[in-house]
Symmetry: C2
Subunit: 116 residues, 2 copies
């Protein structure tokens, strides 16, 4: 369970850690693009772009749909949101820390050497 989640998180963050892949995500979130239409946008081989698309697809950040001989890629916004929610989890942990500090300060204004 958590193991699967962590694996998914690994894949999602890793997929987004490359600028070409983030750029592809911007395009496919804006609308459907065939793999070769995407490949035409970058100064690298078709195969390289196809591999980037495959990484994004494996991470679940985009889905492909066949249309004739083209494969149309479309960004999945729910996957993007799932990454955002992982960050929210981190934010919540931090909030907990701040809340604890606040409680401490409220119950005892100067527990130790802290005059600021």
């Amino acid at each position: 369970m958590t193991e699967i989640d962590e694996e998914r998180a690994d894949a999602l963050f890793h997929a987004l850690s490359d600028r070409t892949r983030r750029d592809i995500m911007r395009r496919v979130l804006a609308g459907e693009h065939s793999v070769s239409a995407l490949a035409a946008k970058y100064d690298m081989s078709f195969a390289a772009v196809q591999k980037h698309v495959a990484v994004l697809e494996r991470a679940g950040l985009l889905v492909k749909r066949r249309s004739g001989r083209e494969q149309l890629a479309s960004g999945d916004v729910t996957a993007v949101r799932s990454v955002a929610s992982m960050l929210t989890e981190l934010e919540q942990i931090w909030r907990g820390r701040i809340a604890r500090i606040d409680e401490l300060l409220a119950s005892d204004p100067a527990p130790h050497h802290q005059e600021d």
Copy 2:
């Protein structure tokens, strides 16, 4: 400018793409921990954990503060938020796509061969 931003994004997503580093982030967002206190939590060498902390520090996700002979690491929530805002940017692009589709449907209910 955008080049720097992309480099920063690379570093942030890459830093978060490892489960040990995400776990370290949870701990240091909850409170300060020395590098050796962190290292004690994982089944790997001190040097390995120290390198993970260095990756997070380089990405700006945590800061270190010297206290005696210990180096206390603390998570930086603003860096976490900056990652979240990158995802919000992606979400906005997607919203634009949906808005465009909605407009199209509103102005012309059946522009071409689309009967559903």
